[in-house]
């Protein structure tokens, strides 16, 4: 675990010594702030529903910027050779990096808490619904980061890694819409289960379905396993 922590610590240092983390967090908070204000004035109700939905789409495009450098940067900077020859197991590298990226996600999430202040000052929001929404948001973000981390291992070009990740995440987000074009029950069901958006929608409404929780955790686990497997295979 010490070695995972060492990798984690190094990742955080690297994030905060490059402008990308600051940029991503700033854009995310400005965006969320805008959507929050807009939604509140439009609906006039003290809820985060619409804002969560917007935050979901926002991180689909922003988190790939966080995950893109995880392995692409190592390959590009020729430090991959170092990581792979240090006394580190591959899963320790993968986990340490993932936790580093998740920390950025948590910081982004914490930044949005400021929106809750006017909500509680001037309205009477449902706390449990909001908590469920945040849990869903973090789970969604973790799945996005894991997918991004996997794609980042495939190329040494960070831009390419980010673009592939955005495409994959958008596909996962909108796959639910394919339901409308299917008559086959099995296919409709499958698309529904695979959809990042539909699984997230439950959380927004305050539903913590274990199925949805499991879905995001499974996606993260599969992506990280593929990530580690790929690195091992390339050795």
């Amino acid at each position: 675990m010490n070695r995972v922590l060492a990798v984690y610590h190094k990742e955080l240092l690297t994030y905060f010594r490059s402008p990308i983390a600051y940029f991503v967090v700033a854009v995310f908070l400005v965006g969320t702030g805008y959507f929050f204000t807009y939604n509140m004035f439009l609906s006039g109700s003290a809820s985060m529903d619409e804002t969560f939905r917007n935050m979901g789409i926002l991180i689909l495009t922003l988190l790939p910027l966080v995950s893109m450098r995880l392995f692409s940067g190592e390959q590009n900077g020729r430090t991959m050779e170092l990581l792979m020859t240090l006394p580190l197991k591959i899963w320790e590298i993968v986990l340490g990096k993932f936790l580093g990226a998740v920390t950025i996600l948590l910081l982004m999430t914490a930044g949005t808490f400021i929106d809750l202040v006017p909500l509680y000052l001037f309205g009477n929001p449902q706390t449990t619904t909001i908590i469920a929404g945040y849990i869903g948001f973090i789970l969604l973000g973790m799945a996005c980061l894991a997918v991004g981390q996997f794609f980042s291992a495939l190329t040494q070009n960070q831009i390419v890694a980010a673009l592939i990740t955005v495409s994959a995440l958008l596909a996962f987000w909108f796959i639910g819409h394919l339901q409308n074009f299917q008559t086959s029950y099995a296919l409709r069901n499958l698309f529904g289960h695979l959809s990042f958006a539909l699984n997230f929608a439950d959380f927004i409404q305050g539903l913590m379905r274990s199925e949805a929780v499991l879905f995001y955790i499974t996606v993260s686990a599969i992506a990280l396993t593929l990530n580690a497997g790929y690195l091992q295979w390339r050795r």
């Binding site: 060492a6 610590h9 240092l13 490059s18 900077g77 050779e81 020859t85 006394p87 050795r235």
Partner: protein, 319 residues
Amino acid sequence: MIALESVSKRFGSKAIVHDLSFTVEKGEIVGFLGPNGAGKTTTMRMIAGFTTATSGRITVAGFDMATENDEAARKIGYVPEHPPLYDTLDVTQYLTFIARVKGVSRGEVRSEIDRVATACRLESVLRREIYKLSKGYRQRVGLAQALLGKPEVLLLDEPTAGLDPGQIQETREVIRSFGEHHAVLLSTHILPEVTLICRRVAIISQGRLLAIDSPSGLQRASEQTNRVTLTATAPAESLRSELLSLAGVTAVVTKEVPGNAHMLNVECQTDARDGVEAAIARAVASRWDLLRLERQQPTLENIFLRYVSQSPPESSTPE
């Protein structure tokens, strides 16, 4: 400490390293010589565990690299060709990361970093960001990283490439002092470096081991042919035929001394028999003026070039 047993590496159908076997013992520095693309870096990477061998067995400090990679990694300090540095970190942060990964306990990280910083003369840049460092410092941070955690084996891939003469001197001293108690494999292009600090030399070309011996052993082995050079005032043609008529002289090349049309520089290839120089001296001096005569020891450079140029692609390894 390092043992390779008929190790091969192929990428697809292309063989990069072919049936390579050698060992590096504790307390010796072995120089690893070869032209570009000979498979030096690939071999280093296999020993370091970055890539796996297609066939054969590599053991480091008794651990099989194929199955006990993790245990072996603790015993290895590896400096790749391009120093693997995180540009945005400062030197201390970088070395702290490496030390912690190598299992140096929290309390000892500080003293361990001080130790390698002193050995690599990095004291003055410990707080500087790595991207601001000059090439010489970058190279030495790469070396310092490898020394952390007191590894038993040191793999150095061209550690002095791109350094100025003063830095090369300092780096060599670090390597030499390290070689007294550890096993060091040093790949390099710089041949004098090998003669200066290596106990043995391995020459590889096209992925095959051509020779492994001490520098003086290699020199002895190639003394079957010698070179005698002389300067004399004589007409070129008759000197040439005179020399070629002597027993033991196999080839003669004459060149005019610049600025003096009557003087000639002559290079004779001779075989190893004793007294060839004396015979040449007598023959030349009896008819013309002999100004200089010298028998030349083969340099490591000549030996290296001979081995490399003599290796036909599919021949077996000469001993």
